[in-house]
């Protein structure tokens, strides 16, 4: 009897050229598969793809919207890279984002009738502090009681969301808001300055780019970045070197939380301008995809955040102009991930069919 079994065999040497082309091939394959799906749904695939990927960014307003969406994704993802490099699975960035918005937004509400140069910096600082403190809770639980940070950080997301909920329907409700669950609007000096007149892209983008540059420097040039990397690769070697694992866990969670907190504050003091229930369309969770899609590398994370942000915008446009459900955006996110991970596997392994 002849049967042919597919087998996955390790390649002795992975090709450098293919390493470079993998993201490009993955995106091409996504486009091809996307066309087929559109064709089956009865749409002209070229027009559909155009609506999905080109038209959202064909105007300066569209590009600005892309950057507005990509900004929090990239900022949270780079923060997550501090944790993931150290093999700490912080998946509670959404909660840290929310807490950053509460702390920073709280300052904004407190000084809602104050116009002063120090207000925004104070709000940013408070946002970072709130996110960091929320991030340090799972760090404390992990180091003191050896709890699993995946569970604790995730549960803290819901606690943060309920606290926000409580605040905007309770003590922080806008007295003139007709009982809508929202807070007062921040004063003008409590808002992120816009970078261009008439476009929503704001100063948060500059903060994000600056923090990505700082993170790149930390990862590649400093002893702290090296320590994160070593304890991620091999905890035993880190112990041998004398790196303090507890300190590293606190720092990684603290930095990640601070970045997510700043992202949250940028959202509420940027496009939104006040606190209400739904400040984030799951940026904190989507950023996990962005971080891994960008391979935890600062440049990779920038590109990944733009691609994922585009799938958000494309889904909105497709719904508007083609009446395609916006869930198609998630299909595209899934396809990109599928092809990227598949292609990455095939860089290091090959498929053979063998007679047995």
């Amino acid at each position: 009897m002849n049967s042919f079994l597919p087998m996955i065999i390790s390649r002795s040497q992975s090709s450098n050229i293919m390493n470079f082309f993998v993201p490009i091939i993955a995106i091409l394959l996504t486009l091809i598969t996307g066309s087929i799906i559109f064709l089956l749904l009865g749409f002209d695939p070229f027009y559909a793809l155009y609506t999905f990927f080109i038209s959202p960014i064909s105007t300066s307003y569209g590009v600005s919207e892309l950057l507005v969406k990509a900004t929090p994704l990239a900022l949270i993802a780079i923060g997550l890279a501090f944790c993931f490099k150290n093999n700490i699975y912080n998946i509670g960035a959404e909660g840290q984002l929310t807490m950053g918005a509460i702390f920073g937004g709280g300052i904004g509400i407190l000084f809602h009738d104050t116009n002063a140069f120090w207000l925004l910096p104070l709000m940013i600082f408070a946002g970072a502090l709130g996110g960091a403190l929320w991030g340090l809770i799972p760090a404390l639980l992990k180091t003191k009681f050896n709890t699993n940070e995946i569970l604790t950080s995730l549960m803290l997301v819901y606690i943060a969301l309920f606290i926000l909920d409580f605040l905007v329907v309770g003590p922080w409700k806008d007295p003139n808001g007709f009982s809508f669950p929202k807070s007062r609007a921040f004063s003008d000096s409590g808002r992120m300055p816009l970078l261009f007149d008439g476009l929503r892209v704001h100063f948060g983008l500059i903060i994000t780019l600056f923090l990505i540059f700082v993170s790149w420097f930390v990862f590649s040039k400093t002893m702290f970045g090296f320590q994160l990397k070593v304890s991620g690769f091999s905890p035993k070697a880190a112990r041998y070197a004398g790196f303090n694992q507890t300190t590293l866990i606190f720092l990684a969670f603290g930095i990640c939380g601070a970045f997510a907190g700043i992202a949250g504050l940028s959202e509420v003091s940027g496009p939104i301008g006040l606190l209400y229930r739904d400040i984030s369309p799951n940026y904190g969770f989507t950023a996990i995809i962005v971080a891994f899609l960008g391979r935890l590398h600062p440049v990779g994370i920038i590109f990944a955040s733009l691609i994922i942000a585009l799938t958000y915008l494309g889904a909105e446009d497709a719904q508007l102009f083609l009446q395609i459900p916006s869930a198609v955006g998630f299909i595209f996110q899934g396809l990109v991930l599928f092809y990227l991970l598949g292609a990455e596997l095939l860089i290091n392994y090959k498929l053979t069919f063998k007679k047995t």
């Binding site: 400093t222 002893m223 070593v230 091999s234 070697a237 112990r239 041998y240």
Partner: protein
Amino acid sequence: MNDLILDIKNISKSFPRVTANNKVTFGIKRNSVHAILGENGAGKSTFVKILYGLLEPDEGSIDYNNKPFEINSPAEARKNGIGMVFQHFSLFESLSVRENLILGIDKTMSYSNLEKKLENISSQYNLPLDLDAPITSLSAGEKQRVEIVRILLQDPQILIMDEPTSVLTPQEVESLFITLNALVKEGRTILYITHKLEEVISICDTVTIMRNGEVIDTSSTSNFTAKTLATKMLGQKLDDLKTNYDHIRDETNFEVNNISCEFNDPFLTDLKNISFKVRVGEIYGIAGVAGNGQSELMDLLTGENTNISSGEIIFNKNKIQNFGPQKRRDLSISFVPENRLGHSAVPELSLSENILLSQFPKNNFLKNGIILKNNIDNYANNVIKDFNVVTPGNDAKASSLSGGNLQKYVIGREISSNPKLLIISHPTWGIDAGAEHAIRESLIDLAQNGTSIIVISQDLDELLEITHKISVIYNGKLSNAFNTNEVQIEKLGLLMGGKNE
């Protein structure tokens, strides 16, 4: 027809920067112990990986039982009666011995069946195992026992053994040899990869000597002495090492005082009242059978575990028992633990980056927390040059180096900082004679220059060769120290077996 079980013809295999095997040709006689002897990087490991189906040769062919034979995977090799015991263990660390054994079997087998079979093998070959122990708690010697049993469960015709004795104690080696003899008597063939000359002479029938990927000679071992084998293998003469006591100063600079440590863990050995003293320029050896508290003691000496029940460690009048590794390095103490991959070096990082794992006050690798790349590159280049590490450059990943080269690099990294005290565990396990010789020589040189050295090793020959004082650890207790040049081997053997009289 001939009596060759394996006929290897013109096997070649190249990797991007190196030719690992160049037209390797030789035959292996049925029912014999055939040695492949070679220095590190001679191509032995590559060759056996081809034979076991882990690598595909670029060219050449293999006849197995006089029929052309192509092996595409280890599973296929095992099905055809070729088994292999690896030098680096391929065990699942978090699983128990029992689970590892079950996983290694291609056919399905019930636990009770396995246990019956295992009892036979255990008693027949004297390989006792605790089936419920998790692998991670076993010593190197015990792990290898699991590997050997796992292969024997498959009833192989040809058994490939890659450096099998490098982690075994003398007693274990002896029982392994009995096992091998029994296997050959049953009609099996052993392919024995080694760098230990004495072993080739004492248990192998035929030897193939490899150097730089080529076969230098295949011949009956009776044609060789240890010296002539070494010359052929290395292509150069080795100097004999001599122990010299003259330079030792009568001044104790490291002292362990009544250290006890309880772990409350059945898989760890409690340490009981351990005391010893090391003088300036002295090499102090700690011998013992695997699993008698060596790794537990090593962790206390390096500061990776500072959680002791009682006692103190004194270095140059500082009490250091509560110091972590970095604080001890600040006092110029350096360490080389047993395990290279993932402990003293990170395989995924470059050689340069691995320098940063062990920093001493005068190294000047950092400025305000920022890595001074030029300084670590220079340091890495010097280690590579001074210790003859074979590598394409300081940007090569640690995982790309062979065991011997990586060990030379790690030890070079520690020695180059001129420590006052070096603590080293199993300095030469699993590496070739050339690297072994170079490492022992550099340890002796270091001591001559006034560094105190503590060597923990199961290789008694090694300790006898390089140490000035020697003691034995058994069941967490350390014996008195003896002057190595006066001690009787029988005395050490008794102590290692737990008999103290």
